[in-house]
């Protein structure tokens, strides 16, 4: 070991210089060059025409099959000689894998992204698409989540939003009117008190990943902020010491203390446990999604006609009742792909009306395509959700940086755990969000 160590130190001075010249400068560009030329490492991908590789976390689902098939068929009409391979990566590790691909400069040509921070952190590895968009700009909605500094880096295929879902049967058992969900925070408080009496949880909540807090901010935020404050927040003018922000955080703590949630909030995984509990009839309410997962379609499977939905309640006098929504997931084109136009053509097929109609119907996603008819879903809550979309505003949490979100996740758990005060938490967030 000493030998190895001293070797390491001796060569460091030399290789430091080497690094400054060769390894370090703009890894991304280097990686892109590497892929474009010979080594690239990619036996697949790397972007030779003749084959395009798509990364996502969806195409493996049986419910996404019709969508993928439709997109493939559409693309094949345009480019019969080009093969398309879909690689469904495990979502847990998706961005880590993508990071490795970016580092090594070999990987997919087309990549699926969540809107917001994950995309904005990686725009260096993506092609600006504004020149290619054409009609799609009109037909599709939800672009803001995929833009950075006025440039568009991905094409939205779904809209994502967070409505409150509720279980009418539990409302009834608690002596509440199942057709009159709460519209104000006071009413919601009454609902929770009534549900507590029948020994159920008012809300199912899983904050193991800290995402519960993201939803809390974005769903109660519209009811707390005035419209002006809301817009200012989105525009980057965020005052973490304002009374409204403090109120939002105190609500989080108070709701937990008042027993609104199931036990073990910090150890409950959101997507596996929280929604399982709601589906299993253990709680009266849950903040869910409108696309991908934890949505009307999967809840309908278990609750059927008992499923109801309402937009976030009004908390303060100047607040609004609206469902936050924005672009959900979208496809981008990587910098290192050989033929950018060809890759965009595939993105175009992936966002075609036919493909997205299939995605909406089978996977239960509210597609970004505004021309799709959603009146025949057979699930009553869909009509409500779609009717709220025009008034929707983007989420409060997605404009935060990945760093600040990570801090928010941790602080939200510490707040539940009683390890930090609201004031202290807000001070830390203010320092992080600059």
């Amino acid at each position: 070991m000493p030998a190895a160590l001293s070797n390491g130190t001796r060569s460091r001075r030399f290789s430091t210089r080497l690094a400054a010249v060769a390894i370090a400068p703009l890894v991304l560009t280097l990686a892109a060059c590497g892929a474009a030329s010979d080594d690239g490492g990619g036996s697949e991908g790397g972007g030779e025409s003749g084959k395009l590789v798509v990364w996502d976390w969806k195409s493996g689902d049986p419910t996404a099959k019709a969508y993928v098939d439709a997109a493939k068929a559409d693309f094949e009409k345009k480019h019969p000689d080009v093969e398309v391979e879909f690689v469904a990566q495990p979502f847990d590790n998706y961005y880590t894998l993508l990071g490795t691909a970016i580092e090594s400069g070999s990987g997919p040509d087309v990549v699926l992204f969540n809107g917001g921070a994950q995309l904005r952190d990686r725009v260096d590895a993506l092609v600006p698409l504004d020149d290619y968009l054409g009609d799609n700009e009109e037909r599709l909605a939800g672009w803001e989540a995929f833009q950075d500094a006025d440039q568009t880096y991905a094409v939205p295929i779904t809209l994502q939003g967070e409505p409150f879902y509720y279980n009418k049967k539990i409302y009834e058992e608690a002596g509440l009117d199942p057709e009159a969900p709460p519209t104000t925070y006071d009413e919601l408080t009454d609902v929770c008190e009534a549900i507590a009496k029948i020994d159920k949880d008012c809300f199912s909540l899983g904050n193991k990943e800290g995402i519960g807090m993201e939803f809390h901010l974005s769903t109660f935020g519209p009811g707390v902020f005035t419209p002006e404050q809301y817009d200012a927040w989105l525009a980057g003018d965020r005052d973490w010491s304002s009374p409204e922000v403090k109120q939002l955080f105190e609500m989080w703590v108070q709701q937990n203390e008042d027993g609104w949630f199931n036990d073990g909030v910090n150890s409950t995984a959101m997507f596996m446990d929280e929604f399982t509990k709601f589906q299993g009839g253990e709680s009266g309410n849950v903040v869910g999604l409108i696309s991908d997962v934890a949505h009307w379609k999967s809840f309908d499977e278990f609750l059927g006609d008992d499923l109801g939905v309402y937009p976030g309640p009004i908390v303060n006098e100047g607040g609004q009742s609206l469902m936050p929504a924005e672009g959900g997931i979208g496809y981008g084109v990587t910098e290192w792909t050989a033929d950018k136009e060809l890759a965009y053509d595939l993105v175009d097929s992936l966002s075609s009306t036919d493909a997205l109609t299939a995605f909406y119907a089978d996977a239960g996603a509210i597609a970004s395509d505004t021309t799709i008819d959603t009146s025949d879903s057979g699930i009553p809550v869909v009509a409500d959700i779609v009717s709220w979309l025009p008034e929707s505003k983007p989420n409060l949490h997605t404009v935060l940086s990945a760093d600040t979100l990570d801090l928010l996740h941790r602080l939200s758990q510490q707040l539940i755990d009683g390890k930090v005060t609201v004031d202290d938490a807000l001070a830390q967030l203010a320092a992080s969000d600059k």
Binding site: A3, G34, G41, G60, P90, T276, D292, S298
Partner: protein
């Protein structure tokens, strides 16, 4: 010794409880794997009412675990072969041959035991990419070999150092070359250790998730454990399906363990006792 009769039974009770605690999680998983998704949502912890292979079949077919199992087998066999060849060669040299730099080289390899994979993760994949081995079987085989070689070299060195030097001297007097001694003497003599260390390494390779996940980027190259963990993503809440995958992935391992119990435990202990 002072433990006879009653006291031995008193000790046996916590030990039996521990034994139950050791296998309980597996039985628990088996129970979950027997449920349908609906049954699980409605009653997560109760005993399953149904019994069937549905989740196994689903995991095997729709999630492509069959292909992944084949990939795992190829990569595991390749890695174990390399590990045993390189490990025994180095082990023989370090334990029985005297050459300049032997000590430094041995410490270098042993020191690699102390380098957690994450420490070299970022540059490791750049090196692998530069030699064009990312997303290939040889790439993953090489990655596993690098990961488990220090341990293998250590155990083989330790095992071979128990072989008396006189045997080697005798072979030399009979005119055998050093390499001949390795081939015709050390390999046969090292068989018990090679079997044990081989099985142990096979378990490590088979069970790995992290290295495989990052090395094999395309879906048809994925290994079994990665495939199984992918069944439990943020976007899939089908726990019984995941449990089915877990049971199937663990099954071959448990069978190997039951059959080769002695060799495995011998392998673990190869480096622990004095010669």
């Amino acid at each position: 010794m002072g433990t006879r009769g009653l006291s031995r039974w008193v000790i046996a009770i916590p030990m039996a409880l521990l034994a139950i605690a050791t296998i309980y999680p597996l039985l628990f998983t088996l129970n979950v794997s027997q449920k349908t998704r609906r049954e699980y949502v409605l009653d997560r912890f109760g005993l399953s009412n149904t019994f069937g292979l549905d989740n196994f079949v689903d995991a095997w077919q729709t999630s492509g675990l069959g292909t992944y199992a084949l990939n795992s087998t190829i990569v595991t066999l390749g890695s174990v072969a390399l590990l045993l060849v390189f490990g025994s060669m180095a082990g023989f040299a370090f334990s029985q041959l005297h050459f300049r730099g032997s000590k430094a080289a041995f410490l270098l390899i042993l020191g690699a035991l102390l380098v957690p994979f994450q420490v070299v993760m970022v540059p490791f994949f750049r090196v692998l990419g530069q030699i064009g081995l990312l997303d290939t079987y040889p790439g993953l085989v090489l990655a596993y070999t690098a990961q488990f070689l220090p341990f293998t070299v250590f155990l083989m060195t330790s095992y071979y150092s128990r072989i008396p030097g006189e045997i080697i001297e005798a072979a030399r007097i009979d005119g055998a070359s050093t390499f001949g001694i390795y081939l015709r003497l050390m390999l046969p003599l090292g068989r018990p250790a090679l079997v044990s260390v081989g099985i142990l390494n096979a378990l490590f390779c088979w069970n790995d998730v992290l290295i495989s996940l990052l090395t094999m980027q395309s879906a048809d190259h994925r290994t079994l454990m990665v495939g199984v963990t992918a069944l439990r993503g943020q976007y899939s809440d089908n726990i019984p399906l995941f449990a089915g995958g877990v049971v199937m992935a663990a099954l071959p391992v448990l069978v190997v363990y039951l059959f080769f119990q002695k060799q495995i435990t011998d392998g673990v202990t190869a480096g622990s006792t004095k010669g």
